[in-house]
């Protein structure tokens, strides 16, 4: 199991051929209290960089882009009633959607934990 990051502050935790996508702790702190999450529909086919979801805080709306190409297999329905889960626990209970990765090679182009840490210093 490995976690990769985008410069746009999304993470993707890879479990076999599935990726679990959310926003980083750094991102949730910067956004502040999340009040609404627009989830993708299951079965949606995404190219790398496509808009997959939207998270809204009181003052900002931010698009969540697909870190890699694939098909959405599951979404975190709990966020519909409790968007604050992203603030409380962004990388576990606050995950946003799961994606069946179509090209694992794209993961190599993403940042690793150290690289992302450098970016947000």
């Amino acid at each position: 199991m490995t976690t990769k990051f985008t410069p746009d502050h999304e993470y993707i935790r890879v479990e076999g051929s599935t990726g679990i996508v959310g926003i980083t702790n750094y991102a949730q702190e910067a956004l502040g209290d999340i009040v609404f999450v627009e989830l993708p529909s299951v079965g949606k086919v995404l190219k790398k960089g496509d808009e997959a979801a939207v998270v809204e805080s009181v003052k900002a709306a931010s698009e969540i882009y697909a870190p890699v190409a694939g098909t959405v297999t599951e979404v975190n329905e709990a966020l519909s009633s409790e968007p604050g889960l992203i603030n409380a626990d962004p990388e576990a209970g606050g995950w946003i959607y799961k994606i069946a990765i179509s090209n694992a090679g794209e993961l190599d182009g993403l940042l690793d934990a150290a690289g992302y840490a450098d970016l947000t210093k």
């Binding site: 609404f36 627009e38 809204e56 009181v58 003052k59 709306a61 698009e63």
Partner: protein, 447 residues
């Protein structure tokens, strides 16, 4: 100049603090060729009494509604506005405040908007309403766009009973759009809109009472639209009708747009007016316009804020739900005060009085030789067919001091079927004497 506080002495003193030689030094970024390089040729500043005389002279060249019998409607209605309304909206704290971006010092405006939203939701029978749109016509265009976002479909069908200006605004907003179907004018209240609904249809748009005064069956329309996964947008240009007619929400409307001018707002030659917009709870995030919501302050006291503003252009920029920025705040205040003064009891009485006046007008018109009344049903407005071109008849009656209504061809010049049609409205201000004068003059003109 009475509005400018500085004396020349103060101006010089301030330039000294700034360290500028003269006022032009502050405009140093302006290209020399463009700075004060012209003579405007406009008149110089003027005392209040002279400005007032100028404006009164212009106003004097217009015929006011109160000057004689008046039957003009077709989307704007002449109702009585209580003196209290106009007094209150001229209070400094309402008139000269801005959009309530600082809620701690804008609770008056915010609470009023919350009350307004509640009134509109109740009137329309819908879950939620926004804090107003520019007017009914632009609100209709916004509703059409909202329906497209909600359904992710493109086809829009406009009823032939929709106000032609509203149709034209939707056309301009959806320029060159092959998915927009505008049905031809239906002055007899006929409608084939249900035949046009298919699996690509985002929404059908139906006005009731329609442009020609007929009441439309919303239940049938809602069921037919929903059967194909389409939405029903209901448009109302005479909001007083909701005092007697079942609310569109009760029939299954998905979005309701109304022109709110009739309550609290004068005719004003067409503006400013206010658009009402209400919808189902699950559609809130696709609804354009400002929304006010209840919350608490740091001490737990109830208070109100603008909310869900991430839908709006100042945050979402090119991803906003619409480019609307200003709403129609002061007109919404006038609406809300007038509606609070009426209350359910007064509003119902007002609507009944309007309908009673219209029934009297309809019966009187039907008895005039050469006049055919087209309406089986109506609220306070109806269409007649006359034996001569309607424009000429209306002009001739205006020359006799009677504003007899709107020739339908003024709004539908390309439709030959409308050439002899006049649309007339009655309100609580219409007297028996007005009706008698109209019918007598009409009979003479049609001889």
């Amino acid at each position: 100049m009475r509005y400018l506080p500085h004396s020349d002495h103060e101006r010089a003193e301030m330039l000294g603090v700034i360290g500028a030689a003269d006022i032009d030094a502050l405009f140093s970024a302006v290209p020399k060729s463009a700075l004060k390089s012209f003579d405007l040729g406009l008149p110089a500043h003027s005392p209040e009494f002279l400005v007032e005389a100028h404006m009164r002279a212009l106003a004097g060249k217009n015929r006011a509604g109160a000057d004689g019998p008046f039957f003009v409607g077709a989307g704007a209605y002449r109702h009585h506005v209580p003196a209290t309304v106009d007094h209150l909206i001229q209070r400094s704290e309402w008139l000269t405040a801005y959009t309530p971006y600082q809620p701690e010092i804008s609770q008056g405006t915010l609470q009023m908007l919350f009350e307004f939203q509640t009134q509109v939701a109740k009137l329309t029978g819908m879950d939620v309403a926004n804090a107003s749109m520019y007017d009914g016509s632009t609100g209709t265009a916004e509703a059409v766009l909202m329906a497209r976002r909600l359904t992710r479909r493109n086809k829009i069908v406009l009823s032939g009973g929709l106000h032609p200006h509203y149709r034209d605004v939707v056309r301009a907003y959806l320029k060159d759009d092959a998915d927009l179907q505008c049905l031809s004018a239906s002055p007899e209240g006929q409608g084939d809109i249900l035949d046009h609904i298919d699996e690509q249809t985002a929404a059908i748009v139906i006005q009731t009472p329609d442009f020609y005064g007929h009441l439309r069956n919303l239940k049938v329309a809602a069921d037919a639209a929903h059967a194909k996964g389409a939405l029903l947008i209901v448009v109302i240009t005479e909001v007083v009708s909701l005092g007697l007619l079942e609310a569109p929400g009760a029939y299954g409307a998905d979005i309701v747009v109304a022109e709110g001018q009739s309550i609290g707002n004068a005719l004003n030659f067409g503006g400013p007016y206010l658009g009402l917009m209400a919808t189902r709870k699950e559609f809130i995030r696709q609804m354009p316009g400002r929304l006010c919501g209840e919350t608490v302050d740091a001490e737990g006291q109830r208070g109100f804020v603008l909310t869900l503003s991430t839908r709006e252009q100042h945050i979402r920029r090119e991803k906003a739900t619409s480019n609307i920025c200003t709403n129609s705040g002061l007109c919404a205040l006038a609406f809300s005060i007038h509606m609070a003064l009426l209350g359910e009891a007064g509003f119902t009485r007002l609507a009944r009085l309007n309908h009673e006046r219209a029934c009297k007008l309809a019966d009187a018109l039907a008895a005039v030789p050469g006049v055919t009344l087209l309406n089986k049903s109506f609220f306070n407005e109806m269409t007649i067919r006359v034996a001569k071109p309607a424009v000429e008849v209306v002009e001739a009656l205006a020359a006799r001091g009677i504003l007899a209504g709107v020739p339908a061809s003024r709004l539908e010049p390309d439709d030959q079927n409308t050439a002899n049609l006049i649309i007339l409205a009655a309100t609580e201000l219409t007297t028996d004497a007005d009706i008698a004068a109209l019918c007598a003059a009409l009979a003479e003109e049609l001889q």
